[in-house]
Every structure is written in C-alpha cells, then in structure tokens.
Symmetry: C2
Subunit: 329 residues, 2 copies
C-alpha cells in the first residue's frame, strides 16, 4: 500500500477513511485534521490563552505537540497525583517533553498542596480512587486556569474515550451528561472553555502519530484503571467495532449531529445558576463545592487514623509551580 | 430463600426486584405483571380481536398462555418458514400447545403460499436469511390480521430482545426506529396495533415461567441465528449487566420514559402517508411494497436457476390454514 499523497510506501493506514500515508504525510494529515476540528467548533479564538492538561500519556503530549505546530501557544498543566512510580514517571515524561521543546509547564502536586496523595485520599474517604481523582483534576484544571489567567482548557480525549463516555451516558441515560458531552463546552464566568481537539482520532491513530513524531510518552496504564467502567465500555465498543467497522465514529458523530441538538432543545431548563464556594471561592452550585466537601471529609477521617496531625485544617489553595521554559528563565 | 408471598421454599428469585417465589406465586406474579403491562399502555381495549404471533419458542407460548389466563381470547398465528427440522419441530410444538388448550391457530406455510422456503428465498435473492424472514413475518402478520379480522397483533418480545434492539438502534442512531420502538405501537388503517405484553421480563424470567407452567416449547435456536447482530448486542448487554446489574432494565425503561418523548417531540414530521401496494393491496409507502419487490426479485432469479418453472408468477396471496379448536370442530 502506498501513501495517498506522494505514492511512497505507506506507514499508516487509516481504514475508516480508506487512506494510507507515509510518515511525513501522516503527520501532516493528523495536524491538518486537528486544525479542521478546531475551526469547525470554533474551539480557539483570537486572544485566547490556552492551558493544556498534560498527564504525560500519548494523547495529551500529542495534543500539546499538535497545538504548537498549529501556532497555538499553550502552557502545559500537569497534576502530580502521587500514585507511586507511575506518577513519578508521568511527571518525568511531561517535564522532558516541555524542556526539549521550550514549553511552559505548570505543575501542582496534590500531596504537597492538600496533604494527601490520591491513593491516601481514596483510603481516607473509602471511595474508589478514580472518583476523587476525577474530581481533583476537574477542580484543579479550572482553578489553576482562572488564577493563572487562562480562558481555555484543552484535553487530549480521543474518539475511543468519547465513544466510551457516550456509551456510559446512554446505558443509564444520564441526560445532564448527554447534553453537556461534546468536543467544545463554552466557558462561563469562573469556568474555562473546555476543548477536545483530538476527539475524532482513534486511540490507534493518536499512538501512530506519537510514534512517527518521536514523542516519548508514559506508556503505563494507571494501576487504578483496572476494572474501571470506562475500560468495560471500551471493550464492549471494541466488540461492536470489530463486527461493524466504523461503529465508534458513527455512534459519536451521529449523536452529536442528529440527537444531541434535539435533546438540548427538548430538555432546555435554562443554565444552572452558579455561585462561589464559601470555602474556596471556586464556582459551584451549592454553598460549598464538592472538592472542599470531599477533602473536609477526608481530613476528618485521616485525623482519626492519625494520618494527619490533629491541628491541620484543609487549605484549598493549590501550590502552583510554574516552570518557565529554560530559554526564558 | 423463601417465597415473598407464602414463606414456602422459593423456587425462583427475581433479583432485580429483591423478591423470591414458590412455583405457584411465581406464576401468579408473572401473570399479574403482564396484566399491569397491558393496562399501563392500554395494549388491549374492549372489543379487540387479538392475533398472537407464535413461533413455538418459549416467549410466544408463554405469552399465549398468559393472555388466556387473563381472559384475553387470542388466536395463534404460526408461520411455517421451511427451515428444515427446526421449523417442523416448531410447528409441532405450536400445534400441540393449541390442541391441548383448545385454542384456535392459524398457520401459513411460506413455501406453500409463495413457492419458496425462507432458505430458498435467501438463496435466490443473495441476501441473509434473516432479512427476508423478518420482512415476510411482518408482512404476513399484518396481512393475515387484516384479512382474518384481527385489529391487534401480540408478540412475545422480552426485556432482553427489546434492550438489544434499542442498543442496535442507538449504536447507529436509527432515529425512525428509535421513535417507533416500544411496547405498544398504535394501529392505523390497514396496520394492526402491535403489542408486547412481556417486554419487562428478562429471558430468564420467561423461561422460568415456561418451566413452572409446564409449557413444552421448541428449545432450539434458529440455525440462521448464529452470527446475527441481535446476538452480538445481547452479548454486549450481558457484559454490562454482569458488571452493573439492572443495566438492561434501566437502559430500556429510562429510554422509553425520559428520552423517547423528547425525540418524538423534536423529530415530529407528521405521520408518513400510506397507500395500498399496486401488486398486493397491503399498506406501504411506495407504489409496490417491499414484500412484493423482494419476491418478484427472488422469482426472476429462481427461474434463471430453474428453481421455479418459467411460467410461474408470484402470487402475493398467502394460503391461510385456520385450525378451529377440536372442541368446536
């Protein structure tokens, strides 16, 4: 098989498009598709300041790389979760990527900021690690964006991620999530715009780009991911895809195009009113936000078990470490 | 575990309801639930004449049994598909059931009526057997209902069937099917009302009723079912159910309750205009109905292969065999 552009031997086949590319033209195709995604949904607008959420895995590093190639200066934001060696290697991959390309990187260490790692938080609250982890990530992304002057948060979600989320939302008909899910969620006072420029690429396509662009990323799965529902949904979608190629893409795209507008229209209940959390000042719907409640609960239980000193109170302000690129430092 | 009603040792556990029953009270619960389903959706109304589609499998025989117990006189309708011994044993199970209970049964033999069995039809058209089979069943159910004076067609679809159909419709967002799917589809001129009184029972619950009520049914799967997409959807739903018990029920019920009304409202395009097929007189949207088109195509190809004599034209009138119960004959 030969490259659809130049006729040289192909290195990557994009089956759902009936195309194949050499390394150079695959990278060009990938970057160009990302540009089209951004344009189609007006993800990025003049004057935007972009924070890109970077775990150190392939999706987020590929996103950061692609944004840079498209001329969108974006500051990386990495959260050090404290999940043993896994988190340590993720931070190293992120730092190395930023340093090699002279990109600005912001790091928040959960334990240094709030006193407990994500596994300790899970232990203290008796809830699954993933639930506290997801909440902490959303909170920190939004808070750091606001305090550091970014109005857009970009994440590396790919087609497999988005289709799995959709299947999860559909299987129990989570209407609020179904209405909000999408490649671009408009910002509001105190809430950054959320964008997912890679949402049309399969996981395999993102991995191929990472490989051909020579991006060194963290390959390990999070040790807590085993048994996560998102993996079950991905497995189930993989079975449908094997039997009916194109299912993932049709499932997500047709939902966004044909069904979500009808649901939005039919379920319109006006925007939820937001206020500022009495404890931390971040936007929320109640008096105290879910993040403050979670950590207050965790502190109470951690003190009983003597994991934290009796006089330590929860301080919701993250310790932000802003690393300027070496050539500006 | 003991019966929730009488405290005797339980024979069946209905996990999703947290209930268990002895044989007698399980049958009573099952019949009563069916009554509630019928009432909730106004499936059956005074003066209705009911035709129950009976394959000879557990679902349809249980439905026929249950309708009789609820005092709804229903005539059985069996289609002899001509799928070898499988179809022969299905007809025998159906006949034996009707004879033992003195129920009226209508039988149409596809080959005797139209000249080819379902496998021969598939061979002649080069399409999967399931597609011609489904079309023939829908056509015959509706036509025989109209010509024999029935305004309601009841089918034995259970929760597993309906959830699998919903997943199929959702995975490719078949909006017309999504809007129509449900336990009761109102009749129109030339189209009988379609009802599915067992749509809330899992396959396992229907099988338990069949066992406890001593119903001898055809146990074999159709030999053409292997590889059917409906089985793939059932497999996938089974995986979600194992991990998250109750998923199938929530998936179907919440769809019907919360989502379908919004889609119906938002996609309202008025009823499709129906006319009578020029060839057979049955209602259809075009000039000639899909059933006549399929058989005309099959005849043309079957003649080329000398499966049918050159001068044989397709006659769309089914040969209806109406067997009165022995005690009335």
């Amino acid at each position: 098989m030969n490259c659809s552009v130049c006729g040289a031997p192909a290195q990557v086949e994009v089956r759902r498009r009936n195309q194949a590319f050499c390394a150079e033209h695959y990278r060009a195709w990938f970057v160009n598709e990302t540009r089209r995604n951004i344009k189609r949904h007006r993800m990025i607008r003049p004057g935007d300041r972009i924070l890109v959420a970077v775990s150190g895995g392939k999706d987020s590093l590929v996103l950061w790389d692609t944004l840079a190639r498209l001329g969108h200066a974006a500051t990386g934001f990495h959260i050090q979760l404290g999940i043993g060696d896994y988190s340590q290697r993720a931070l190293e991959a992120t730092r190395a990527f930023a340093a090699a390309r002279g990109l600005e990187l912001i790091v928040v260490d959960v334990r240094q900021s709030f006193g407990l790692t994500i596994p300790q938080l899970a232990q203290a609250t008796g809830r699954a690690a993933c639930s506290g982890c997801g909440l902490s990530k959303r909170y920190l992304m939004n808070r750091v964006a606001e305090e550091e002057g970014f109005n857009v948060v970009a994440t590396g979600h790919n087609l497999d991620d988005e289709a799995a989320t959709l299947l999860g939302n559909v299987s129990h008909w989570q209407l609020d999530a179904l209405v909000r899910q999408g490649p671009m969620l408009e910002g509001r006072e105190g809430l950054a715009r959320r964008i997912k420029p890679l949402y049309t690429f399969t996981e395999r396509e993102v991995a191929a780009y990472a490989f051909l662009a020579g991006i060194a990323y963290q390959h390990e799965e999070c040790p807590h991911a085993e048994g996560a529902k998102s993996l079950l949904y991905k497995d189930v979608l993989g079975r449908l895809e094997t039997r009916m190629p194109g299912t993932k893409q049709v499932f997500l795209e047709q939902y966004l195009k044909k069904v979500q507008p009808v649901l939005k229209e039919g379920l319109a209940e006006g925007e939820v009113e937001l206020r500022r959390c009495e404890r931390c000042g971040q936007v929320t719907t109640g008096a105290v936000c879910a993040h403050c409640k979670l950590w207050d609960r965790a502190y109470a239980r951690a003190k009983k078990r003597r994991l934290l000193p009796e006089d330590r109170g929860f301080d919701p302000r993250p310790k932000v470490d802003r690393l300027k690129p070496a050539n500006e430092a």
